[in-house]
């Protein structure tokens, strides 16, 4: 436990014992109000909502401080309170999705209205090319399916969620090095599955952002 963690735990212990309550909460508020505010801002809430949700989170901390078990990190408990506030707000708004804010139609770009009612069909690939592309896509999907479980998870989180190796490691409880190896192996297997259908032979192995 770091010195900072020990200091936070000491503050929480005092609060639970009813000692220096005002001063203790002032310190917690000073230390964590920015991360909590940003936690909500990253979920797409506007400024006023971020402030309300942050305040709701700290009130939840104040009211529930007695139930906090100090064998867990304080930030884990803070996360739970903040996440509950976040999801409660989503339920109240009737939106179950992240960043589901309505945008008025009037804010849409005006130039879209200027598009002609009829647009000519864009010239597509030739039939042979389309068949080849469909076959490549099928082979790739099968190759993704055949990947080992952990390897496929790393690939999906990297390609589909666009996460960095460090973030993938955090989510899957793997080291960044292990994630890097998994991603390299995954791409090599996909290339191998396509064989001569790929335009180039091998990946460079470093395309995943780190």
């Amino acid at each position: 436990m770091s010195d900072a963690d020990a200091a936070i735990q000491a503050i929480v212990a005092d609060l639970q014992a009813g000692r220096a309550v005002e001063e203790g909460f002032r310190l917690l508020c000073e230390r964590f109000h920015r991360p909590v505010y940003r936690f909500f801002a990253r979920r797409g809430f506007p400024e006023a909502d971020c402030f309300d949700l942050t305040q709701e989170t700290f009130l939840g901390i104040y009211r529930g401080i007695g139930s906090f078990r100090r064998d867990a990190p304080f930030t884990t408990w803070l996360f739970k309170v903040a996440t509950n506030a976040y999801r409660k707000r989503l339920r109240l708004q009737g939106a179950g999705k992240r960043a589901g804010y309505e945008v008025p139609l009037s804010s849409q770009p005006e130039e879209e209205d200027d598009r002609p009612a009829f647009q000519p069909v864009a010239p597509g690939p030739l039939p042979e090319a389309s068949l080849l592309q469909a076959e490549r896509a099928r082979l790739l999907r099968e190759a993704v399916h055949e990947l080992p479980d952990q390897m496929r998870k790393c690939l999906i989180l990297n390609v589909y969620h666009e996460l960095k190796m460090r973030e993938i490691g955090q989510l899957l409880h793997l080291s960044p090095e292990t994630v890097k190896v998994h991603l390299f192996q995954a791409r090599r297997r996909l290339h191998k599955a396509l064989g001569p259908l790929f335009a180039s032979s091998m990946p460079d192995g470093g395309e995943a952002s780190s």
């Binding site: 963690d5 309550v21 005002e22 909460f25 508020c29 000073e30 230390r31 109000h33 920015r34 991360p35 505010y37 940003r38 936690f39 801002a41 990253r42 400024e47 402030f51 942050t54 305040q55 700290f58 009130l59 104040y62 990190p73 930030t75 884990t76 408990w77 803070l78 996360f79 739970k80 309170v81 996440t83 509950n84 999801r87 999705k97 992240r98 490549r136 896509a137 790739l140 999907r141 993704v144 998870k153 690939l155 999906i156 989180l157 390609v159 589909y160 969620h161 996460l163 973030e167 955090q170 989510l171 899957l172 409880h173 791409r187 996909l190 290339h191 335009a199 180039s200 990946p203 395309e207």
Partner: protein, 269 residues
């Protein structure tokens, strides 16, 4: 990035869509407790696997978990600017909540002192107390009566009644029934002298007084004859009641009683 990266991306997206959803699915979101438990690796392997499968399809939960990883970092989300004064405004609101007090009761209000409720005693205790009270009263009356009796008996009596009783059968032989001896009503103590109708060598002697209608009212063993072979008894008058009584004198030998004399006794009311 290789030339095939867009194709790989498309394949992954298609595979993900086929197997689980379109990016926000993957079933119901795990609650905050479960996500925190996954973060601290407190879930069993099967539950951990389910969370990972969900994370592949759910950007929201993946984002929450990544934020949990960094929430402890003071620089977390530093690309987002927190408006100036946010901390002070938050603290003001929180301080109001902390220092909020309940309104005090009016000073002039007189609050009656509540009477302390007493639980009703069990029924058996009430019954026991009542029985004890009755017993104490009864004992007191009895003790008072005994004291009065002892006092009466201790008082010397002048010219107390002495009756020399003649056993039945003796008089008949002489030509008439022996009349009953009469104990006068005014006497407190009466001394009876019993002359046995016959004598013998007995181990013990016993006298018994019974009502004429039946029912012994007094009996005593251990009598001893005097030098003249007769027996004397001194009894309280009130112990015998009133009316006709029969007194019998027994000699006891080897456990068997033999009648030595029978006497008639009348106690005047």
């Amino acid at each position: 990035m290789s030339d095939q990266e867009p194709e790989i991306r498309q394949a992954v997206e298609e595979w993900t869509a086929e197997t689980g959803g379109a990016g926000e699915g993957g079933g119901e979101h795990p609650d905050a407790e479960t996500l925190a438990a996954y973060h601290t690796r407190e879930l069993p392997p099967a539950a951990e696997q389910r969370i990972q499968d969900h994370l592949l399809l759910c950007r929201e939960c993946a984002g929450l978990l990544l934020d949990l990883e960094e929430l402890d970092d003071p620089d977390f989300g530093r690309e987002i600017e927190v408006p100036a004064g946010t901390g002070e405004a938050l603290w003001d609101g929180l301080r109001q909540e902390i220092t909020r007090k309940e309104p005090a009761p009016p000073a002039a209000a007189v609050i009656p002192f509540p009477s302390r409720p007493r639980p009703a005693p069990p029924l058996w205790i009430s019954s026991l107390v009542a029985a004890l009270v009755v017993a104490v009263i009864g004992l007191s009356v009895w003790v008072a009566s005994l004291r009065r009796t002892v006092g009466e008996l201790s008082r010397p009596e002048v010219n107390s009644t002495v009756l020399d009783l003649v056993p039945r059968g003796i008089g008949q032989r002489e030509g008439g029934e022996v009349p009953a001896a009469v104990v006068p009503s005014g006497s407190r103590m009466v001394t009876l002298i019993l002359s046995p109708a016959r004598r013998g060598d007995f181990q013990d002697y016993e006298a018994e007084i019974a009502r004429a209608a039946g029912g012994a009212v007094w009996r005593e063993r251990g009598l001893r004859p005097n030098d003249y072979g007769s027996f004397s008894l001194t009894l309280p008058r009130r112990a015998l009641g009133t009316g006709e009584h029969r007194l019998r004198l027994f000699g006891i030998r080897n456990g068997a009683r033999e009648v030595l004399g029978e006497y008639a006794l009348r106690l005047a009311p």
